[in-house]
Symmetry: C2
Subunit: 349 residues, 2 copies
Amino acid sequence: MGNIPPVGRKVTLSDIAAGCDVSRATVSLVLRGSPLVNKHTRARVEEELRRQGYVYNRAAANLRRRTSSSIALVLNDLANPFFAEFAAGVDEILGSTGFVTLLGSTGESTERELAVLGSLMEHGPAGIILSPAEGSDAEQILGAVGTQTPLLLFNREVSGDVSACDHWDRLFLDNQRGARLATEHLIAQGHRRIAFYGGHLGSSSCKQRRAGYAEAMRAAGLAVEPQWMVECIPNRLDAVAQSHQLFAGAQAPTAAVCYNDAVALGLMLGLHQRGLQPGTDFALTGFDDIAEAAVSAPPLTTLAVTPRDRGRQAAELILQRVKEPSAAPRQTIVPVQLLVRDSSCPPHA
Amino acid sequence: MGNIPPVGRKVTLSDIAAGCDVSRATVSLVLRGSPLVNKHTRARVEEELRRQGYVYNRAAANLRRRTSSSIALVLNDLANPFFAEFAAGVDEILGSTGFVTLLGSTGESTERELAVLGSLMEHGPAGIILSPAEGSDAEQILGAVGTQTPLLLFNREVSGDVSACDHWDRLFLDNQRGARLATEHLIAQGHRRIAFYGGHLGSSSCKQRRAGYAEAMRAAGLAVEPQWMVECIPNRLDAVAQSHQLFAGAQAPTAAVCYNDAVALGLMLGLHQRGLQPGTDFALTGFDDIAEAAVSAPPLTTLAVTPRDRGRQAAELILQRVKEPSAAPRQTIVPVQLLVRDSSCPPHA
DNA sequence: GGGTAGTTTTGGATCGTTCTAAACATGCCA
DNA sequence: TGGCATGTTTAGAACGATCCAAAACTACCC
């Protein structure tokens, strides 16, 4: 019988080589399925690999080959179901390609974002998928990731000198068209006084959705009262808290296009508190189609963005870029789909 | 002026050493903040590091030091908000400790689980946090991860020869007590005919929750009809589909303890379809306290498990184990908290 | 000038792979 | 017998960091 496998220490190529009396090079060739090795040698080596319970050390191989087999995935809010689905999609594709996902979640803090990026960069990822925290600065991010590692910007534009980052790939939702569709739908339902509710003006997606809303209103010849444009933190809680603002002026709206589903669900609660029945006395739409949207009371009309598909797409885009680092940068804008449910009722008689 | 930084290639320790005329060893000492280096030398080296835009190569360092700075996080369903929150908690702690999270999501498939574990192992994680897919086999997992890498089992027990894996740490929810609390609450509301609805009997958490339910029923001297124990896939869709089973027998229940929130929300829809108003004609409870539970109609009485805190706890447990590999294995059972909302009404008159 | 103690610096081996170029074996043909 | 093609194996130098032991400086005192 051969030697026993080493204890406490990991089994290496050399252990295998020694165990069946060939050189390290030969074992390495076997591992990578090279046609150079003799059938009998291969069988012997493979038997020994099994016997000792060998585990490939990809870090060592990557070091030698100056390659990388990981992609960094940095998200502003992993707890948000939209990004969780996105992450699942990313990991699905990366996993099936032999890449491993380095996860980093920033909790919407630009400081943590830079720290996380810095820490992940030390592991030399082949590429980065970044959904930036609100208020992220282009040059700071560039400073953290350098110019060597390809980066795919997802979901949000960054602020600052964007021209320095025009080599980044981009994957965005068609926010403007989505909000336009929602607004047009409410107009078609007969509404004339329509608000745009929620989101931060600082964020690029909010600006784009507002633009789509404004476009539809203008096209229909409808006026927009200033008090119909209400900002709030894009979560349920603040959406409840700010909802009174919609009704502060003389001309109360009869419907609202909401920044996203969380805000819309919050606004529903706020309406209830004022004695208004959402979907009967007041119409509203969301954005994202999170799972709750289909089961809320009433079910929420919203824009489906299929985050898992976006994740898969993002993974494919970054892998393509890793393969061809010098190809021209790509900006992809994906369409969104209006899902009409009960929340977008006609105006109350 | 010094040399320009190298193009196309990453900046290494040697580049810095050459750039300011010291040895690689000195640069290495500076990087690690050793007190051995002279103030002036340190300043010169640090200037050069900045100038060339040096990025530490942790993989190379780990190779030499035979250490690791990553933890693998393998989840059966990342898209589930419960696990997404959990992952966010894990990453929060790991990130703040200088560790990086290697993400793997298995989509509840045991095959993919083994593949993912195998792929992650090649990156030599210091430890593994695993929430196993349903039906995972203890010995197969052991075969994939070996005995050298510490593993923390989260949320579910694995099947098969568990004694081979008794060196693993475990972090479980107190499923039994949770279900008992929910059942006792329904009994206190006045219900006598209470069902246990949903989940797979194959899963350990389902068995434990059923046990808690049975315990409370027995303690109250209440009988359990066989047709009140209904299995279903633990998602909303199948929960709707199977809900008719509850009413198949002569003795229809007036309340149900549901396996989890998703199932409870599905059952609500099923009740609606039968013309029953959940929270008025029929009482039910969930498990998990997902975000939707608070905003469903009616709001769902459920058991809060604070998944983000569990994530933090899991990260801390595995880090502790990495520090002390030979300490006795630990099994942690975390309490859950009953949140009473409107869905658990008294029986209809 | 030499000895001593203390502070800094350094060459070279090493971690576990891959790569290159060369060595070795075999068979065939001239 | 030598030359050449084909097939298989291998020694040893990388990759980018760390570690160790030893060397090279200082400063100081006799």
